[in-house]
Amino acid sequence: MEDVFYCIICNKPMQRSSKIIKCSFCGKKEKADYVCPDGHYVCEDCRIAPPDKLVTKVCKATEEKDPMKIAILLMKHPAIQMYGPEHHYLVSCVLLAVLKNIGKFEIDDSAFEKAVSRGKRILLGSCGLWGVCGAAAGVGIAVSIVTGATWTSDKERSLSMYAVSEVLDKIASIGGPRCCKASTFAAIEKAVKFFEREFGVQFPTLENPRPCYFRTLNNECLRDKCPYFR
């Protein structure tokens, strides 16, 4: 077993601790075992959580109003793999969390379960196989949930689809092979603009994801081809 553990958030070596510390993911306070010098701690429940539980837990608990910050934090967790369908519902949940915290929409906890349940139906590799990246569809899910859109709706249904098409346009322009991190960044950037324009939501901040934190961890990084590489 490794002698030293490195913080999954900042990569600094962690130290033994027995203090009561707040989990950097879900906010739960518990007696810590390993803490990094910057005070990052991951509670035992979050350490073993599967991706869907982690995403909903964190998004329900967070008070953050910057969707990019939550997305980057979640993607640093080992439950979220470099590529995978968990990015599809991650995008929806992150947007719902922020919209809830900004107070523009009435969003209760069941919205996150709904988003995960819908997002899980999007196939792994749907970007190449269907022409619909799951991160883009994730934005559509968030729009549908906040507007209550269904297939029988009028304007709400259109808004969902416009949101997806705008995000898809941006993701498609990046090229491939797929990068779930770049698609998530692009989806959030476009979604923020969409919500500002269509719903008048004011997002206090939006972290710049450049240079991408994951570029050295990703064997198939698009490097200079990707707008988030530098």
Partner: protein, 352 residues
């Protein structure tokens, strides 16, 4: 002083046709764990059908014909799902090598195909010494546009097990009744209208390989560890219908030690730490027979070196976040909690 690199020449043959395939896997495992030199094995076996990789005994062969003609069926690992026939008139030429050693020899390298091509060329170089007009391609050895070889390759990162069957004096009439998808195969003796002495072929191939790869082939036997592993592979894999018919193989790493994979969180939670402690304690008197690998979620596939061996169940545990999990010889035995000491011990002892 010789500047030649040495390869091992192995001519060990078991009277049991299935054991011979266990030996092939053994020499590959010992090569990829760097316990032996690059190896060339020349051997002949009884008439049998080899199901390569995922080839099906139902869809790819007429099993009844095999039974009628007493043709035994064995499955061999292969990246190509292919059916190969051999009898006493065939020569099996098996290479277990690190392909990095071929880097300086291969020009205009095309991954995988170049390796197959050069290995076939080395055999052709030998056969040409017998004044036989044969040609090498990446997919086989040809005489007058008819193929006289079949190969079942297996890859493990930079290591290649190239299992080629050369139809020297093979009687292919039975093969044609057995195989469902017809291929244009012939034997060397059929094309030349004369029997060919197998010893001459072997000698020529040895020369061809030595010249092609600038190596010296040195006759050696299986090591003691290899003999033990071949027996184990025979017992747990090659003698069983589970493998030969159904294609299900047990998960064994390296030289076949019983493997306990423990999948935990990063950093390990208190439950994960207790589990690791328990596993290490339970196997403390079994160090020679059991290998324990602690895998931490999110630390990547290379946390145990450059050539990771991971059971499919561990990959599943990772995808499904089954934490903690204890996987013994590729089977998920305990998950989500700490097992009782006696239960864990029993499960490990049963897997030895």
């Amino acid at each position: 002083m010789s500047t030649f690199k040495t390869w091992r020449l192995l001519e060990h043959v078991s009277p049991d046709f299935r054991m011979n395939w266990a030996i092939n896997e053994t020499i590959f495992r010992s090569r990829r764990t760097n316990l032996t030199l690059d190896t060339l094995r020349l051997w002949q076996g009884l008439k049998s059908i080899i199901l390569g990789g995922s080839a099906s005994y139902k869809d790819d062969i007429n099993y009844e014909v095999c039974q009628k003609h007493h043709v035994e069926v064995v499955r061999a690992n292969s990246v190509i799902p292919k059916v190969v026939y051999h009898d006493a008139g065939s020569l099996n030429v098996t290479f277990a090598i690190n392909v990095k050693s071929l880097e300086n020899i291969i020009k205009d390298h095309k991954p995988i195909l170049s390796e197959y091509q050069i290995l076939n060329e080395s055999i052709v170089k030998g056969l040409q010494k017998l004044d036989v007009n044969v040609k090498a391609n990446h997919d086989g050895i040809y005489i007058a546009d008819k193929r006289i070889s079949d190969s079942l390759p297996v890859w493990f990162y930079d290591y290649l097990l190239f299992q080629l069957t050369l139809h020297i004096n093979t009687d292919l009439s039975i093969y044609e009744q057995i195989i469902k998808t017809k291929e244009h195969l012939t034997s060397l003796s059929h094309e030349l209208r004369e029997k060919i002495a197998m010893d001459d072929v072997k000698e020529a191939i040895v020369q061809g390989v030595e010249e092609t790869f600038d190596v010296k082939l040195e006759k050696q036997n299986l090591t003691e560890d290899e003999q033990k592993l071949a027996e184990k592979l025979f017992r747990v894999k090659y003698s069983l219908n589970e493998w030969n018919i159904n294609g299900h193989e047990p998960f064994l790493i390296g030289m076949g030690k019983t493997t306990v994979e423990v999948f935990v969180a990063y950093p390990p939670t208190s439950m994960c730490r207790k589990l690791i402690e328990l596993v290490n304690d339970v196997v403390s008197d079994l160090q020679d027979e059991v290998s324990v690998m602690i895998w931490m979620r999110g630390r990547g596939v290379y946390q145990h070196g450059p050539y990771p061996e991971i059971s499919p169940v561990l990959s599943r545990a990772h995808k499904q976040s089954i934490i903690p999990a204890v996987i013994i010889n590729g089977e998920l035995k305990f998950s989500g909690s700490i097992p009782l000491r006696e239960d864990l011990r029993k499960a490990i002892l049963n897997a030895l």
